[in-house]
């Protein structure tokens, strides 16, 4: 029986390897390795509207 378990585990490992490989191929194809510096900088650009609404100071109020 342990040989069956081992067989399943090896199959699973193979599946994971194939999945990782495909994922990596996709990443290369979509150009994620073209620019290794930009995304790190881009992440810091806080360009979308703030998620937490800021309290607005209305005129006339203190």
């Amino acid at each position: 029986m342990p040989i069956m378990v081992l067989g399943y585990l090896l199959g699973l490992a193979l599946f994971v390897v194939i999945a990782l490989g495909l994922g990596f191929f996709w990443a290369v194809k979509s150009g994620q390795f073209e620019d290794m510096e930009g995304p790190a900088q881009r992440m810091l650009m806080d360009d979308d509207d703030p998620m937490i609404p800021r309290r607005k100071l209305k005129q006339g109020e203190d």
Partner: protein, 813 residues
């Protein structure tokens, strides 16, 4: 009158007095220096991109020079015959182009460009690459034209050029992606195979069921298949090419080792007997692919510089035919044509000035830092920049006949010649392989007499144990470790032979302008000649220079705080001579000797100093007398003295070859303590001097920066270029100092020496290991698993030894 107290909010230049360019940014009216900046800032705000101002870390280029006429030129890029060279059509109506963006100074610029382009109707995708500063834009040609896109980029204050070497780039990109995929497959499979190998080795030690061994071996075989069938393909191809051309290279033994070990292992797996070497096969591939990938990456950084060189020459020119101005592509210019070069533009073709007076910045082409006066009959070079007044030029050389094109051709030739020393390792490995093959055959033959049962086991043991794994890793591992060490210090190796050559260098030759010095004039001395004090004189001079675009003007402005600048009325700029203007009711003049007597009356004896010692004298006069003399010269880099001292301390000879005047060169040489210096040398003279040194058996490293140094750099055994210098110089060099710190010259040479020492150690180890293991393997005393282990350990020793180069101190001498 408004007091000058502000810098332009957009570009950071001082706001001229009496100007009133304001833009409301987040509710505050911000001052701008000119209409150009105002337009750019307004465009940014109108598009809701004010976050740019919040996140930028560098000031952009000024919008000052962008005339509306520049926009007119862009319309030419919509012509299909021009688009043909750089626009591709991925689908009907969809167009895609790669643009080189000029003026990118920080990440905020990229964000701004991407955001702005993506907002345009019709733009499908816009992506700017941070490291290459190139933008890839795709758009629907029914909805907008390319010129509109270029125009939008210009409105933001950047300049976009079409990037035409697109096909070449696509090829390189595909290769790089392929390398990455090979590497990934090898890494994933190696990890799995190694894991199974651990189980097998542990099982061999403590007992394991034969069924499980069989399962694990089959799994290993399955996982090795992608490596053999995909990742290792480049080795087969290279080996095949080598054999076809009747040569031997590293990849022949590599292919043999991979192939035989794999076939042997598969044989064992299928037959259920003998050893398997799947772990060794995959690991071997992974090591080699990784080192090759690193090597390739380092090299590619430098080739990008060559491509961007195309930027030096403009794509469009204003041709004058029968007094009609017409914008035409530069390729249409022919000998004898007349064209107009406006101030601030680069010259489209080589030619002679037929009308106008100006100065030209030829520093990119000649390394000469001072602007060169251009008048009637003077020659101008394509790629140089016209600084002051408009020039009419008659073409004497266009396209392939320009000086610039000639330099590029020279570089191509120099680069196509492969250094002999780089091929030696391959040749040695070739001989080694022949020996290895003969030895394996002899072993098989011997065992055929003694015990035919053990032929395969023994000959495989010989082949595996003596596999040139360690031998072939010895050089690349040390190379990769050394280049990564240097890269972290800002030193880029662009050629494989650089490290080897640098270990033999015994003379370092420096260019002066731009290498030992900054290549830009700096104010050295202010000499007041009347009762007005030096500070006041300087403030007057700087204020007058605000209106000038002369390179000297920048050095004056750099010396004076913005808030001390005075208001100048009626500023006048006389190209080639100087500037004058009225400050507080008095007319002041600033300029060279030819300019000053205009207002000072005839010379008062002070104008006799010669420009011979590399110092440019500038005189300030009011209506009656000479107020001050300013001496400007090209300043020595502060670290130059220490750098030269370090080189001499390690027994290297130092020489200076310069195109500059005797006084300027000897001044610098004395300060550096260099006795061996030459002045007034043209590029040919420098090359001749270098050849003479080489004939005397010296190995010279040339350190330079300008395009005029490019032939010399290409002709020297080891060429080191300054990162800030001309791109051609960088392209033809073996080593680039990205940080421009001269101290790194010794670092590079030291690392070169250390890496050669380590390569030698590695070779010694690999050879010694083989000498010891071969007799035992041939005698059948080494089981193949031990041979494989020996091979792996021997490679590991080599790699670990090489990694010592990456960190810490180098134990030199």
């Amino acid at each position: 009158m408004r007091v000058v107290d502000a810098d332009c909010f957009h570009c950071g230049l001082p706001v001229p007095p009496d100007s009133d360019f304001l833009v409301a940014i987040e509710g505050v009216a911000q001052p701008m220096c000119c209409r150009g900046c105002q337009a750019v800032a307004q465009a940014i705000i109108d598009n809701g991109l004010q976050a740019y101002y919040q996140y930028r870390t560098e000031m952009p280029e000024s919008g000052r020079e962008r005339a509306p006429q520049a926009l007119q030129k862009l319309a030419l890029y919509d012509r299909p015959e021009i688009q043909k060279s750089f626009v591709i059509t991925p689908a009907e109506h969809l167009r895609e182009a790669t643009l080189i963006l000029e003026g990118i100074t920080c990440a905020a610029c990229i964000w701004l460009n991407e955001r702005h382009l993506q907002q345009l109707p019709g733009v499908k995708d816009a992506h700017v690459n941070y490291s290459t500063r190139r933008a890839r834009v795709s758009w629907d040609e029914r909805e907008l034209s390319l010129s509109r896109i270029l125009q939008e980029i210009q409105l933001l204050g950047y300049t976009a050029h079409p990037y035409s070497a697109q096909r070449q780039q696509a090829v390189r990109k595909r290769e790089r992606q392929q390398d990455l995929r090979h590497l990934a497959v090898a890494a994933l499979c190696t990890a799995q195979v190694m894991m199974l190998a651990v189980a097998l080795y542990a099982g061999a030690g403590s007992g394991i069921e034969p069924q499980i061994v069989k399962l694990l071996r089959y799994a290993s075989l399955l996982l090795t298949l992608p490596v053999i069938g995909y990742a290792a393909v480049p080795f087969y191809k290279s080996a095949f090419r080598a054999i076809l051309s009747r040569r031997m290279n590293m990849d022949v033994p590599v292919t043999l080792a991979i192939g035989s070990a794999f076939i042997g292992s598969t044989w064992s797996t299928l037959g259920g007997r003998g050893e398997v070497y799947f772990d060794a096969v995959t690991m071997f591939c992974l090591f080699l692919l990784a080192t090759r990938y690193l090597e390739r990456n380092a090299r590619e950084k430098s080739t990008e510089a060559v491509e961007n060189l195309l930027k030096l020459a403009p794509a469009m020119a204003v041709r004058i035919k029968d007094d009609v101005q017409e914008i035409v592509p530069v390729v249409e210019l022919e000998n004898g044509d007349m064209f107009l070069v406006k101030p601030g533009e680069s010259v489209a073709a080589d030619g002679a000035v037929i009308e106008g007076e100006s100065t030209a910045d030829e520093s990119l082409l000649t390394g000469e830092s001072r602007a060169i006066a251009k008048g009637l009959g003077d020659t101008v070079i394509a790629g140089s920049i016209n600084l002051e007044g408009p020039l009419r030029v008659r073409v004497t050389g266009a396209g392939e006949n320009t000086v610039l094109a000639g330099i590029v051709r020279m570089l191509d030739r120099a680069q196509s010649e492969k250094p002999k020393i780089a091929q030696m390792a391959d040749r040695l490995a070739g001989y080694f392989t022949y020996g290895l093959l003969v030895l394996t055959a002899l072993t098989a033959l011997a065992w055929w007499w003694v015990d035919p049962q053990r032929i395969f086991e023994a000959s495989l043991a010989v082949l595996v144990a003596t596999c040139p794994c360690a031998l072939s890793l010895a050089a690349p591992a040390a190379f990769a470790a050394a280049s990564s060490r240097l890269l972290r210090r800002g030193v880029l190796l662009t050629r494989g032979h650089a490290l080897e050559t640098s270990s033999h260098v015994n003379r370092v030759v420096f260019d002066k302008t731009g290498t030992l010095t900054y290549g830009k004039p700096c104010l050295q001395k202010t000499e007041p000649l009347a009762e007005v004090d030096a500070d006041r004189c300087l403030a007057i001079a700087a204020s007058l220079e605000q209106a000038s675009e002369h390179p000297l003007a920048a050095s004056f402005l750099a010396m004076v705080d913005q808030d001390r600048l005075l208001t100048v009325e009626q500023p006048q700029n006389t190209p080639g001579k100087g500037v004058n203007g009225v400050i507080g009711g008095i007319r002041y003049a600033l300029g060279n000797r030819a300019h000053s007597p205009l207002i000072c009356g005839n010379g008062n004896g002070n104008g006799a100093a010669a420009d011979d010692d590399g110092v440019t004298d500038v005189w300030l006069c009011d209506e009656r007398r000479v107020l001050a003399k300013f001496s400007l010269s090209d300043a020595l880099r502060p670290e130059a003295v220490a750098a030269v001292r370090a080189l001499r301390a390690h027994g290297l000879m130092v020489t200076i070859l310069s195109g500059d005047s005797k006084g300027a060169v000897s001044h610098i040489a004395h300060r550096l303590g260099v006795e061996d210096y030459y002045w007034g040398m043209r590029p040919e003279d420098k090359l001749a001097a270098l050849k003479k040194m080489q004939c005397q058996g010296e190995v010279a490293a040339m350190v330079g920066d300008g395009v005029n140094d490019a032939p010399v750099l290409a002709g020297s055994q080891l060429s080191i270029a300054m990162g800030g210098g001309a791109e051609v110089a960088r392209a033809s060099s073996d080593i680039v100092l990205l940080t421009q710190r001269l101290g790194e010259v010794w670092q590079a040479l030291e690392t070169g020496r250390a890496s050669i020492r380590i390569m030698h150690q590695n070779f010694m180890w690999a050879v010694a290991y083989n000498m010891i293991v071969v007799p035992f393997a041939a005698l059948g005393m080494v089981p193949p698993w031990l041979a494989a282990l020996g091979m792996s350990v021997s490679s590991l020793v080599v790699v670990t030894n090489a990694l010592r180069l990456r960190e810490g101190k180098l134990d030199d001498d």
